[in-house]
Symmetry: C2
Subunit: 300 residues, 2 copies
């Protein structure tokens, strides 16, 4: 039996990996600072920033596989928070404990912000990493350190570099939910020119992609994206079109932030060919799901 | 007054930076686990792997500049030793303490093994990092983490990626001293074919180059090399020629180790143009100095 431990399992990405991992035949153990009630998977409470917590968790679960999705993700804070450094060292402690306990395969969650501003599709092998945020730098550092550590310990290691994602219970201040909220309330949405080229993947597909990567034998960095590069404007227009509120969108009303790269899109060849993953939701379906999720009344 | 703290100051590279730093106008504070007796610089004893030691050292010295040359360097061990990971976290602690204490500029010491096997000259901006050793991976991780950390703290940061070096009190099992010893004893020297292309810089020039980088305002990664790519065979032939023992060298007597890259050479444009450094020793002069140093009787 393959037994996987998922850290950050109550998080935006981590939570979307649990069902796909079960569907792929894993016995799933989920860890978070506060466990959710979920009869489908076994929950464990752990604060991985506390020294020794990772070793205790690994000793309890004895996983064959480890999907490490925990990291600081507080909106508006995570980009430059000192906790990025704590997560780097905590990730090393977790990986060491996993290797010590005879773990077979680890997958970590990285980010397109490891690449930093580039031109052309980011390739896992050929594109140099020039992170220009503290978050991106600490993820890049974690990638190199885990890759070196786990290679030395003969543990398989893959690193999911997640590009832009949306949908589900996204933080309300992010682009997609704040736009949906504005249009739903009949408010004008002041946008940038929207010329930035991005690759947006619905978070449910991101969860499935990372689960597929965990179940595969692919090693090294793997970009997680749809393979469809679009402008931010095209995404906004699709949302407004589906909500029938295109007249409320003002493109060019705000300047593009100076640190916002003109283009940040992945090559998804490894994900498509080696992992064999294809998204289930195209842009229209992903947007429809995002609108439905945002407008659905929440349980308390 | 610029006051620089040099960690690993009794080490192979660190020790060669002290005199050049003084010549460049720095008040030099040297730290090592065991202080050397040296009236020219102020020595401090510290084991930076002990939590809190870095902060105490920085509080004592209050440096404006920090040259961090300390790392595990035990021959035959450093490439895969677990201590590489300890030095990653210790380096982060040191940099944080330096930033907390109002430090202005830090230089760290990296390695060509961050690049891993590549073709063509390694460029600091364009060549992706693919370290294939634990040592190289931990150095690459330290580079990204320090760069992110110090940018966030508004501390200038440069990273010296040192290529191949030789001369001085090199460990006796390394290529140059072991070859000199063999030829001096009249023993046959069994070598590989020596087709590997490298850039060799005498360690005295490495020390001067890093000191110049510390005194400059250049930020980011900077390769440290001579700019002369030669084959290993050319280096060996020069040593044998100067010792008049060419007949003792057997090229091709040993296979090239499988993990030895065919080519690992830097672009030194940043070092030459931005830092303004030029080596003082050409290959013949460096080899002559290395032979003289090796054959000189040692003090106990």
């Amino acid at each position: 039996m393959k037994r996987i431990l998922v850290t950050g399992a109550s998080g935006y990405i981590g939570a979307r990996t649990l069902a796909p991992l079960r569907a792929l035949g894993f016995e799933v153990h989920a860890s978070a600072r506060r466990a959710r009630r979920d009869t489908e998977v076994a929950w464990h409470e752990a604060d991985l920033l506390v020294p020794g917590a990772a070793a205790a968790l690994v000793a309890t679960v004895r996983p064959t596989h480890l999907l490490h999705a925990a990291w600081i993700a507080t909106p508006g804070v995570y980009v430059s928070a000192p906790e990025n450094l704590h997560w780097l060292t905590a990730s090393l402690e977790l990986a060491s404990a996993f290797a010590d306990a005879g773990g077979e395969r680890m997958v970590g969650v990285g980010t397109c912000f490891e690449y930093g501003p580039t031109a052309g599709p980011c390739d896992e092998q050929r594109t140099p990493l020039h992170p220009n945020t503290f978050y991106g730098a600490c993820k890049a550092a974690t990638w190199h350190a885990l890759d070196g550590l786990l290679r030395a310990r003969s543990v398989e290691f893959a690193w999911a570099r997640v590009f832009y994602l949306f949908g589900g219970d996204e933080a309300p201040q992010r682009l997609v939910p704040s736009l949906i909220d504005a249009l739903a309330a009949g408010r004008v949405a002041e946008c940038t020119a929207g010329t930035q080229r991005r690759d947006f993947l619905h978070v449910d597909d991101v969860g499935r992609a990372i689960a597929s990567l965990a179940a595969s034998a692919v090693v090294g960095a793997v970009n997680i994206g749809s393979g469809r590069a679009i402008t931010l404007r095209a995404l906004i227009e699709e949302i407004a079109r589906q909500m029938d509120e295109s007249a409320l969108v003002r493109f060019g009303a705000r300047p593009i932030p100076p640190n916002d790269p003109p283009e940040l899109v992945p090559s998804v060849e490894r994900l498509a060919r080696e992992v064999g993953f294809a998204p289930e939701l195209d842009l229209a379906a992903g947007v429809a799901a995002a609108i439905a999720a945002r407008r659905r009344p929440r349980a308390a």
